[in-house]
């Protein structure tokens, strides 16, 4: 979307709130799952699926589609809500998350859910999978792009750096990875668990084009995505500066909401907050 007007941007912001509401409801019903990292990834997913990517929910296997790979598979609720709102499957499916006989597994599975490209949840695989997709695209002279979302804690994994090296070696400028830099992982602050800084220098030294961006400002995310697409000869990393639990005041930057779902009162409070935000945004339309 080249010239996003104010109204379109507002609609995207409203979509982000809706997706956050789905996330809260899904995790409350499932009584398990990962709110923090789902909420922090939401704005980037909205930017990708509702404004940036070339994709058709009615043709999820279109060979020319842009691909999105959720390497941080525990943010599955955010992906599922985004896919459902995009039209890949019925919104009713969301209430089945993590239940037996449901298509929405606890972590994404490509054979179960339309629109899910790779089976993730075991951390560190997604960027490697993207390398295969990107190399195949170059081989076939396709113009599709491959977007990958990485958790910051996930980049503790050695495989990420194998993948980063190969993407750079083969000059995979059709890959844009997005790092959900919320500084929190299960056992605490990323810098205490296993120091990641200097993140920018690390990725640059691996031969990547690095862009830093407010990960909750959809307009800025879209600008960064366009810059990434336009950059030739190197893969791009967009460092999304985010807050874990973004959008729900009492979840923001609270590490315990990494893998603990909201209780009933917390769910009610969260939904109220999000509904209020939605109303305010809708009033501006």
């Amino acid at each position: 979307m080249n010239n996003l007007d104010g109204k379109e941007l507002l609609k995207l912001k409203i979509m982000a709130v809706k997706i956050r509401k789905h996330i809260i409801e899904m995790l409350f019903r499932a009584r398990s799952g990962h709110p923090g990292g789902s909420l922090s990834a939401t704005d980037a997913l909205v930017a990708l699926y509702f404004a940036h990517m070339k994709h058709n929910p009615k043709k999820p296997k279109d060979p020319d589609r842009d691909r999105f790979i959720l390497s941080k598979g525990h943010a599955a609720p955010a992906l599922y809500a985004t896919l459902a709102e995009s039209g890949y499957f019925d919104l009713k499916e969301l209430s089945g998350l993590r239940k037996a006989e449901c298509m929405l597994q606890g972590h994404p599975v490509c054979t179960h859910t339309p629109g899910v490209e790779a089976s993730t949840g075991s951390l560190g695989h997604g960027l490697s999978f993207a390398n295969g997709v990107a190399l195949a695209g170059k081989l076939d002279k396709k113009t599709y792009k491959v977007y990958v979302m990485l958790g910051d804690g996930e980049t503790d994994e050695g495989q990420i750096w194998e993948a980063a090296a190969i993407a750079s070696h083969y000059k995979l400028d059709n890959i844009t990875a997005m790092l959900d830099r919320n500084f929190l992982q299960i056992d605490g602050n990323t810098e205490d668990v296993l120091k990641l800084e200097p993140v920018v220098d690390r990725w640059k030294s691996f031969g990547w084009n690095v862009i830093e961006c407010d990960g909750h400002d959809i307009k800025k995310i879209l600008k960064a995505l366009k810059q990434g697409d336009a950059h030739k000869g190197q893969p791009t990393l967009i460092i999304l500066k985010t807050k874990k639990g973004k959008g729900v005041s009492f979840m923001e930057n609270v590490v315990d909401f990494h893998g603990i779902p909201p209780k009933e009162d917390e769910r009610n409070k969260a939904i109220k907050e999000l509904s209020d935000s939605q109303k305010k945004l809708e009033a501006l339309l």
């Binding site: 089976s119 999978f129 390398n131 295969g132 190399l135 195949a136």
Partner: protein
């Protein structure tokens, strides 16, 4: 054994890939800095644009192969058996087996006849850890001729397949045309016999033929089955052999736990087949450096020991 033509199964693999590459434009080959040993280098030289050198980074290679498959490519991924399975178990599990990716892992240097490099390079657990994965087919071709046929069958089959061959030159067992009807999952009776059946796979098929010949001179009639597919196991052939002969010996360059011997034991037990039964293989130990012949003798995996075990069981 000496009068048989020796051919390296790895060379056969390299040649088969080149031929397949001509027919199948979707074929891509990935290797992790071992292309000279796995012989994927032949493909790399012929079709450089479809060969992907992935460096000494096997985890990335396996997940990337699934990415290729998701775009309709037919990836053959090669490295040594140790690095193609144990090192990358989680990647094979999630990205290939669970995801039903159309990826073919073709490993070389399986078993202990790798020899002098020692335990770090001797893979004796790969059948077990690949066999336990749902959706995964496990194959061990027995000679160069069979390698060529199997590579083509792997390309035709849809879904994840793991195949492994050894490092060393090996005598040709089959002639051109013998394997026209070969099917994945269907074992071959290659020597008939009534007293005992050797169920062998991969590098242990040739010694079983030798053992058959030695036993014949001693009036013992040994049947030899080339069980090239370890999973899915040809249960009906196995049960038939168990009923028609008096004893079953499995033979594999692999641990006796979880591989061909384990699979055969499971089938026999679940089908209430009461037979004399022995698993030839590595008996729950790590081996050591040594010449292939010395190791196969020490760990009782040659024709001499096949004869001894057979006679002991038939006493």
């Amino acid at each position: 054994m000496s009068d048989k033509k020796m051919v390296n199964p790895r060379n056969a693999y390299g040649e088969a890939l080149v031929e397949l590459g001509k027919k199948n434009q979707n074929l891509v080959v990935l290797d992790a800095d071992l292309s000279k040993s796995t012989k994927t280098i032949n493909f790399a030289k012929t079709y450089p644009e479809r060969f992907f050198q992935m460096g000494i980074a096997e985890a990335n290679m396996i997940s990337a192969s699934a990415g290729f498959a998701s775009c309709g490519k037919l990836p053959f991924v090669s490295t040594f058996a140790v690095f193609a399975t144990g090192r990358v178990y989680d990647q094979v599990r999630m990205d290939i087996a669970y995801s039903c990716a159309n990826v073919k892992i073709f490993a070389t240097h399986g078993g202990i006849s790798v020899g002098k490099d020692g335990v770090s390079h001797q893979m004796i657990e790969d059948f077990a850890i690949m066999r336990v994965l749902p959706n995964m087919t496990v194959i061990a071709p027995s000679d160069a001729m069979q390698v060529k046929k199997i590579v083509n069958l792997m390309a035709e089959a849809i879904g994840p397949i793991y195949a492994r061959i050894g490092r060393a030159d090996a005598p040709l067992i089959y002639n051109e045309g013998d394997l026209n009807d070969l099917k994945i999952g269907k074992g071959l009776i290659i020597r008939d016999g009534a007293d005992i059946t050797f169920i062998s796979t991969g590098t242990m098929v040739e010694p079983a033929i030798e053992a058959h010949d030695i036993l014949k001179k001693q009036n013992i009639s040994a049947r030899v089955v080339d069980m090239h597919t370890v999973k899915p196991l040809d249960n009906s052939l196995l049960i038939k052999c168990a009923k028609e002969t008096n004893a079953i010996i499995t033979a594999e360059e692999h641990s006796v736990i979880g591989g061909l011997g384990g699979a055969v034991a499971e089938t026999l037990a679940e089908n209430n087949i009461n037979t004399k039964f022995y698993r030839m293989g590595i008996r729950d130990v790590f081996c050591e450096s040594g010449s292939p012949a010395d190791l196969l003798e020490k760990y009782k995996l040659n024709e001499k020991h096949m004869v001894l075990f057979a006679k002991k069981m038939l006493k």
